[in-house]
Amino acid sequence: MNLEEYRTLFIVVTLVLALVAASPVLGVVVPQGGSERFSEFWLLGPTHMAEGYPFNVRAGEVYSVFVGVGNHLGGSEYYMIYVKFRNSTQNLPDIDSSEPSSLDPLFEFRFFVSDGEVWKAPVTFLFEDVIVEGDVLFVGDVTINGVSFPVDVSAVWDSEDGGYFFQLFFELWRYDVELDSLRFDDRFVGIWLNMTA
């Protein structure tokens, strides 16, 4: 190695060391890349596991599930969950066009979740005023977490699958700071219920 090559090596090493010395302020100036950002939205059975979900339900009996949201969006978020009830012909949210279901919500949860944190809550429900007339089952009342809601939902006997099928589903909404309001977050979860009077 001649002197000129040694000089180049010295300059390179000095520059690298200078960059290391400047790293505290570079950490403020240079934006740091983050991991993927998303919201988790889940529904668990009564034992906090993804199993044992209520399916065959009877009028007057109480059933429970757990609903939860995980925030991985890099900052605190304001969420809302709408609980809705429908039969198989009524509309679900349309994820492709970011449209929530047009059905009126029954119950709702509102909460704030810090980044990296999880929120969860128990949801108990029971059906009352359930009447079967011919091949149609009418549900007149849904109680969610102790609050009773009058509904007028009916299902025709499904001869293929053998039951009267309804769905209890949960829509996730998130506060949009720019819009200054909550908007549907393109996520929903639900359980199918085979109802008997």
């Binding site: 000095t14 010395a21 302020v25």
Partner: protein, 168 residues
């Protein structure tokens, strides 16, 4: 008209007047409840925006988030009662929501200013350390290079064959 008849008419009149008045005072109609809920929602959204700004500035907003969550539960209750047509309860819960939020916006701005001040100080300290570090590294590099070059020359020159005269 006898005394009894007068008393009866007066009693009926008083009863009607009272019943109308009491209903007028105690009943909360749908519009009032909707207005209270909208106001509570606006206050909550505004407080959330301020808390978010404080959090982005690096402030510890966990205490404010606890209060926001309480207020939010009241607002959810207000909406549930409103949908059920129980407007008194809806108004009551909307009021509780606004009450819990209170002057949270002001508190959040205070925390934000404090966090911003700390951030500026932190950047200043980092800057001093970085600039000082770079100066030291460059200076040491220069000194080491000078020493190295001198030794290199001495070593290389020491290896050169000496020119001697051919006289013998």
């Amino acid at each position: 008209m006898g005394l009894c008849s007068k008393f009866f008419v007066f009693s009926v009149f008083l009863f009607l007047l009272l019943s109308v008045s009491i209903r007028w005072v105690s009943a909360v109609d749908e519009d009032v409840a909707a207005l209270d809920i909208a106001e509570a929602e606006e206050v909550l959204g505004s407080a959330y925006g301020a808390v978010l700004e404080a959090e982005e500035a690096g402030a510890n907003v966990s205490g404010l988030f606890v209060r926001l969550n309480v207020a939010d539960q009241y607002l959810a209750e207000a909406y549930v009662w409103y949908r059920l047509g129980v407007y008194e309860n809806a108004t009551r819960f909307a009021g509780l929501c606004s009450e819990v939020v209170g002057d949270m916006r002001g508190e959040a701005f205070g925390l934000k200013s404090k966090a911003h001040g700390l951030w500026v100080l932190d950047v200043l300290v980092r800057m001093i350390w970085s600039v000082g570090g770079v100066i030291v590294v460059v200076f040491l590099g220069f000194v080491v290079w000078r020493v190295f070059r001198r030794r290199y020359h001495k070593r290389v020159l020491g290896l050169r064959p000496e020119v001697v005269s051919g006289e013998s």
